[in-house]
Amino acid sequence: METTTEKKYTFKDFASDQEVRWCPGCDDYVILRAMQKALPEMGVKKEDVVFISGIGCSSRFPYYMNTYGMHSIHGRAPAIATGVKLANPDLSVWVITGDGDSMAIGGNHFIHVLRRNVNLNVILFNNEIYGLTKGQFSPTSLVGQKTKSSPYGNTQQPFSPGELAIGAQARFFARIGGNTPKEMTQIFIDCEKFKGTSLIEVLQNCPIFNDGCFDEFTDKKVREDKQLHVEHGKPMIFGKERDKGLVLNGLKLEVVTIGENGIEQEDLLVHNAKEEDPTMHQMLVRLRYPLVTGIIRSFDDVTLEERKDVQTKEVKANSKFRKTDDLFFAGDIYKVD
């Protein structure tokens, strides 16, 4: 994709004139600002950027961006975005969705856009609750979670978006806390550069219906000890003291402490986001202690558009048809005088 631009944008260029109407304290503001800050760094032209959303709190996002955008229907944004991208592969296309939107009603389109590897970016705002419909459990809500539609506790097993995505052959998966704007901005920039479908799960707090849902991982006081922010080519190390890390013990990941039982930093696993085999990425995604954030998987592969483009060029080169008349008048035709 052409990513050069003469004009240097600032984040203000990407803010629309519409008043932002999310609840005070919602992480959506953080995501919006991170996006407005990331876009000028991406080198894409403002007029080439398209945001497509479904339905839900998160899906109001396109209205607040001074780009092209469509607030569409529940769960279908990935399919609409696929159409946009196939119609014009030069556009920078972003899907904005929530856990209700893409894990429930849009589950089908979610897995298929990943399978096809369309070159677009999906930002999944996961707050483990239905916000816009005022507080029912979602497909990522925890078992036992009490909500308006589960007063005695949720009895449905949750999806882990990352597991689902990697199972659907996602080539890019990143996870980030909703309260870490700097890292989030960088991930947005990285996923725009990635060729293929990028999925970013943002652990997003809902201050009204599910306040503190990710506090155990994202609270400033604990996050360094509870999160492992992976980077490609770097050892899997975490903790306030940078003394904890991951090793492989049999078929399981194990947390070890550097300096204990003869463990040295060299013994820790080194993150390889670009590995095609998703086994390790799947293990990292499943881990709850530490919770793995950052770009977990970033495997370059052929995109749907590229595959279609190659085929179209081949067919065009081998076809005797240039105009529709060539087709209409070919084959079994006959004349009546």
Partner: protein, 618 residues
């Protein structure tokens, strides 16, 4: 070439209806197609209709596994595949049993007696062999041991397995029919050469069996007559035989070329619409972008995305699929973007009768969405004019910035007829509302003062960045608006926009007479049946019977009421319980709309229509 002296007598016919029936897998569709193509090239007018089971391969010999292909050829104008058969070729007892009712008494039946085994008779639920029990005495039955003669003919051809040998018996039947109707086998032999290019034994085998059938008929004294059907008087031009679904696909190709836009198809396979998908995916050389989507909803929503990005976007489906697309269609409607939805109707409700025809999605098309959501609804009426109406659907959607539902149905979609080929240069111009230059005063919901269409700003254009969506729009800026008066205004203006399409569509014209005793009204795929019946009743002296056939349903042609006023009685004929009659009743007060409805998954029969008309004009 064998030169056998024959005592055959030529009889000249105006038209004939032939039906080939057998097991699905017996090659009846191919046999019928070959006969109709050959006849068309000879110069006859034709209409064909395949009729096959929903099961891919039903158990051999079963009653529900019968596959049929009917062809109507003539030296006169042919407008339907016909309902009463002059010649039935039955490859097995099940085929005979399920189709005998259609054969005109005294007319001919050819059977493969080898297939009339005890087992097959049982499967067809015959208590006794109809060839022996006298039950066919009102017909002229030609009994041929087709399977054994085929095997005998192929004894010396090398490189054939048993299956290929038995499968070619359909060509024996075709050869016989070619002789009976004085047709050349040449076209079909050319067809073998192309089809089996890499399998020479099959070319040899099929050619041999076809010729054997031909000579067998020539020698057989049981067939004393052969028939000649002279070329029809048709408008001069270059023709080809086209199926409705192919014509629909080609109409979109032409529209894309004429409008200078790229064609995008988002579709999920469903009978009987899938052939449009199959046809369009072939044409990547024209830049067609097709996505076989994960479901009906992704079919339409991917098309909405492509439309947003500036393609001529379409989605194709059949009844149940349209139900699933409803919500997305509402979105396309409120964001006021071009989108064509093709609905090839089939018998409903729910899964209904997937391979049978019906016209029962009309009200779904008009009203099957939440909220006030009018869209343009048009309907094609013959296999050939599917081309024109696909083109028209594309033209209307691009010029009026609103979704268009194009209705077709199983009958015209699978049926084929001669199409006088239209070059793209003959087609009307297509404008579009794309804007490329930003204007300071530009607003996303500014409207053209005549059509009320809004502009079509496309991503990638600097200065036209904007957001659309399913929430109600402010009348100018397009921003979300919950203002009460604005919603009422927008609801009304969206309806008015559709109403104004009346200024851009032709008036309804009656055929056969302008005023009189009876106006027969139809719409969509019943045109051929109604035309031929109204024509015949006029020929029989009931000369005050007119036909008004509607292709434009929403909006209706401007002069509709004026036309209705000119007739004493109005009869609305539909393959449903009266959906168009309801629409007419809602729109036009003071008229009595009589109805003739058929809900059998079958097209109208000629005699039932004529009988009904006569009751009203006697």
């Amino acid at each position: 070439m064998a030169t056998i002296q024959s005592n055959k007598q030529h009889e000249v016919l105006e038209a004939v209806i032939i039906r080939f029936v057998g097991d699905s897998g017996d090659g009846m569709q191919l046999t019928g197609t070959q006969f109709s193509d050959t006849s068309a090239m000879f110069g006859n007018d034709i209409a064909t209709f395949p009729n096959y089971p929903a099961e891919i391969r039903a158990p051999q010999g079963s009653l529900y596994g019968v596959s049929g292909f009917q062809v109507h050829i003539g030296s006169v104008e042919i407008s339907t595949p016909g309902d009463e058969v002059d010649l039935l070729v039955a490859m097995n007892p099940a085929g005979l049993k399920t189709n005998l009712h259609a054969v005109k008494p005294g007319h001919t039946i050819i059977v493969d007696t080898d297939a009339f085994t005890k087992k097959n008779l049982e499967k067809a639920q015959y208590d006794s062999n109809p060839l022996e029990d006298g039950s066919l005495e009102n017909y002229r039955v030609i009994e041929v041991t087709m399977t054994s003669l085929t095997k005998e003919a192929l004894r010396d051809v090398e490189g054939l397995d048993n299956k290929s040998i038995t499968r070619s018996k359909n060509m024996f039947a075709l050869g016989m029919v070619y002789w009976m109707y004085d047709r050349s086998t040449e076209h079909t032999i050319e067809f073998f050469k192309k089809k089996f290019k890499t399998k020479p034994p099959l070319i040899e085998a099929n050619t041999k069996v076809l010729n054997t059938g031909y000579y067998f008929a020539e020698t057989l004294e049981l067939i004393p007559n052969s028939y000649t059907i002279s070329p029809a008087k048709m408008e001069a031009g270059t023709y080809r035989i086209i199926m409705g679904n192919t014509a629909t696909a080609w109409g979109f190709l032409a529209a894309a070329e004429k409008s200078g836009l790229e064609l995008f198809l988002g579709s999920y396979p469903i009978t009987p619409a899938s052939d449009i998908l199959h046809e369009l995916v072939k044409h990547k050389h024209f830049g067609v972008k097709a996505l076989q989507a994960e479901d009906e909803i992704a079919g339409i929503t991917s098309a909405i995305g492509a439309s947003f990005a500036g393609d001529l976007a379409i989605t194709t489906t059949s009844g149940p699929g349209l139900a699933l697309k409803g919500e997305a269609l509402g979105l396309a409607m409120i964001i006021e973007m071009p989108l064509v939805v093709v609905n090839v109707q089939r018998g409903g409700p729910s899964t209904g009768l997937p391979t049978k025809t019906e016209q029962s999605d009309l009200l779904q098309s008009l009203y099957g969405r939440n909220g006030e959501s009018p869209v343009i609804v048009i309907a094609a009426s013959t296999p050939a004019n599917c081309f024109d109406f696909a083109y028209e659907a594309a033209k209307l959607t691009l010029e009026h910035m609103t979704p268009v539902i194009l209705l077709s149905d199983g009958y015209i979609a699978n049926g084929s007829a001669p199409w006088k080929i239209k070059s793209v240069s003959d087609m009307p111009d297509i404008k579009n509302n794309i804007i490329t230059e930003p204007d300071e005063n530009w607003h996303p919901y500014d409207r053209d003062e005549n059509t009320l269409a809004r502009k079509w700003p496309i991503p990638g254009t600097l200065g036209l960045e904007h957001r659309v969506g399913g929430l109600e729009k402010d009348r100018v800026s397009g921003n979300v608006s919950y203002v009460a008066e604005n919603h009422e205004y927008m609801t009304k203006i969206r309806a008015e926009k559709i109403k104004r399409v009346q200024n851009y569509i032709p008036d309804i014209e009656t055929e056969f007479c302008d005023s009189g005793d009876l106006l027969v009204i139809g719409w969509g795929g019943t045109y051929g049946s109604l035309y031929s019946a109204v024509k015949q009743i006029n020929e029989q002296g009931y000369t005050n019977t007119g036909l008004a056939h509607f292709n434009y349903i929403n909006p209706l042609p401007k002069n509709t009421e004026a036309v209705l006023k000119r007739f004493k009685k109005i009869l609305v004929c539909e393959l449903n319980t009266g959906q168009f009659a309801k629409v007419l009743k809602m729109n036009f007060n003071g008229f009595e709309f009589l109805q003739f409805n058929k809900i059998q998954g079958l097209p109208f029969g000629n005699s039932e229509l004529i009988e009904k008309f006569k009751q009203l004009v006697k």
